[in-house]
């Protein structure tokens, strides 16, 4: 059964990992953490923080559906998707994906599947706040759509 949460608080990675590792059949856990970059290719302006907005209700529902799909497709024994909202500083984790399977191949493939999907289908929007006081919404990347297409 997938765990899906949208939260302001930082992740407790050790606790999330331990919750998935129990049960006796898990042989490997794949994981990805998205991190706020200080140099996100924004024409030289230094980033101060990132603010994440989401569509409450649709977000949890959409992530829950894709997590269930990942569990089915890769034979997972469990998966966890946590996404933070609110204002995050450089180096902070934005998103945490964990996928537990009997073997490492499925665990890592499911991790890639979940993060590629999240980047293109989960209703979150990032606003960059720069050191100079300016701010702007991040534009979607075509590379993300291409990555998500791999799994169709």
């Amino acid at each position: 059964m997938a765990t899906v949460r949208v939260q302001e608080a930082p992740f407790d990675l050790g606790a999330e990992m331990a919750a998935l590792a129990c049960g006796g059949s898990v042989g490997g856990i794949g994981c990805f953490v998205g991190v706020v970059r200080g140099d996100p290719g924004t024409g030289g302006r230094a980033l101060r923080a990132l603010t994440l907005q989401h569509y409450s209700g649709m977000t949890e529902r959409a992530i829950g559906a894709i997590a269930a799909e990942a569990e089915r497709r890769f034979g997972l024994l469990g998966c966890t998707v946590l996404h933070r909202v609110g204002t995050l500083g450089i180096g902070e984790g934005i998103v945490l994906v964990l996928a537990a399977a009997p073997h490492r191949g499925d665990a890592l493939a499911a991790t890639g599947f979940l993060i590629d999907w999240l980047k293109t289908r989960a209703p979150f929007w990032k606003r960059q706040e720069f050191e100079d006081g300016s701010s702007e919404w991040v534009e979607a990347r075509e590379a993300d759509d291409a990555a998500a297409q791999r799994w169709v």
Binding site: G57, M58, P123, W125, K126, W137
Partner: protein, 86 residues
């Protein structure tokens, strides 16, 4: 006649200066395409925004929707730019 909720996110919310509104849909508005045309006609700020040619996505009842998908009174509609989470 149930009201229809329209939600706005990201730059749409900032530009319109509101995060949501409740509207009464005319009976002839039965698709996403018709809904956008109707919203455009009644709100010059939204019209300006839609005419900029930026990609706008629509969700109906919390599912991504295409131009020909149906809308009905009482639906929860959301307008937003392509997502950038993760």
């Amino acid at each position: 006649m149930p009201t229809t909720q329209i939600l706005y996110f990201a730059f749409l919310r900032d530009r319109l200066g509101r995060s949501e509104e409740c509207v009464v849909l005319p009976t002839e508005v039965r698709t996403v395409r018709a809904l956008l045309a109707w919203l455009q006609a009644r709100d010059s700020a939204l019209a300006a925004l839609l005419e900029e040619g930026r990609t706008i996505r629509v969700a109906v009842n919390q599912e991504f929707a295409a131009a020909d998908d149906p809308v009905a009174p009482g639906d929860e509609i959301a307008l937003f730019p392509p997502v950038t989470g993760g």
